[in-house]
């Protein structure tokens, strides 16, 4: 692998603004700067997906690293039939589901801090205001309950609700990533929301 200058590793350097496919072709020629830029583009979304699935920062960190390493090793087989984004997402989803199946019920949450902007989020302000029945509820308690409820869902239902309701992906995108049709995505989403609503009924108006 060609070692990129440290400035490129920090900021993506000359690779900023180049389209994914060109970066993939360069990375296939072992240009680490190009692959570094691809990681920077998608790391936050991939991390968020894996983190919301596991509710554990350390597990998410390991899985994200393994995902990008696996993608790099398999990069020669990437033909561009789908976007790099969908392709790497699919690797992350499969890795995470396999990890969760092995982990089974040994859930150990290690939650990230809620950023200070949350207190100003209009949706959340309404939930924890004095007018709600659970006015004693604070954001941290709500965070724990919400993550606990998500962990009760099956891996596939949790994945659909994570990709759609938290990350805002469309049904079509989720279908491509999870290799299933849009109808399946919709039905899983409906069932997952019903389940979550039942688990969290005390915290909803």
């Amino acid at each position: 692998m060609t070692r990129a200058p440290s400035s490129e590793l920090q900021h993506g350097g000359e690779n900023e603004g180049i389209d994914d496919l060109t970066l993939v072709h360069r990375a296939q020629q072992e240009d680490s700067g190009a692959y570094d830029e691809l990681i920077r583009r998608y790391q936050e979304r991939i991390y968020a997906t894996v983190y919301h699935m596991t509710s554990n920062h350390e597990d998410a960190n390991d899985l994200v690293q393994d995902t990008f390493i696996k993608a790099y090793r398999a990069l020669k087989s990437f033909k561009g039939d789908s976007s790099f984004y969908t392709w790497v997402y699919r690797i992350a989803v499969n890795k995470t589901i396999n990890f969760l199946k092995q982990r089974k019920n040994r859930i150990q949450m290690s939650l990230n801090d809620v950023d200070f902007n949350a207190e100003n989020d209009p949706d959340l302000v309404a939930l924890v205001s004095d007018k709600t029945p659970r006015r004693d509820l604070n954001l941290l308690e709500l965070q724990e309950k919400l993550n606990g409820a998500l962990q009760k869902l099956s891996e596939h239902h949790r994945m659909v609700v994570t990709l759609h309701d938290i990350q805002g992906l469309s049904h079509e995108e989720i279908g491509k990533i999870m290799d299933c049709n849009v109808g399946t995505v919709r039905s899983r989403l409906f069932y997952a929301r019903q389940q979550l609503q039942a688990y969290l009924s005390d915290y909803l108006k």
């Binding site: 570094d36 790391q43 994200v64 690293q65 790099y72 090793r73 989020d121 939930l127 609503q197």
Partner: protein, 153 residues
Amino acid sequence: MKTDPENFEELRKLMALKRHELPPPGYFNRLPGNIIARIERGDGQLGFWERISASFTVRPAFAYAFALAACGALTASVYSVKTQSAEVAYQRNPGKGWHTDSSDQNIAQTFDASHGPHVANWLGNTNPSAASQALPSLFAVPYQTVPVSYQNQ
């Protein structure tokens, strides 16, 4: 508390909280460097069998071709072994040819008479007393010479 199963608006608002859960500051600045360092160390490199199975996943046609070649090699080896054993048998007793004559029938009868009860074992008899009897080797059949006369009696 009552919640309408068809109306997920409140749930959607609650899920907004998840978007505010963020990793430690600076995490995303360090992550690409950590990944590139692990790649350079050789992490995640595939072994021989993993590379083979990965290429099967990527190119199913390669898997079919490999399976076909393996079947062909197996068939060829079985055919070769059969041909060789037949040649050996012919070389041991070249005068008899390949047809069954009376001497072969006699040998077969002698063999059946002496080893008849063991046939049950070959057919899958589960009787432990029968199964414990050692089977004779198929290659230890004694050759018998039966005098043949072509003169009319």
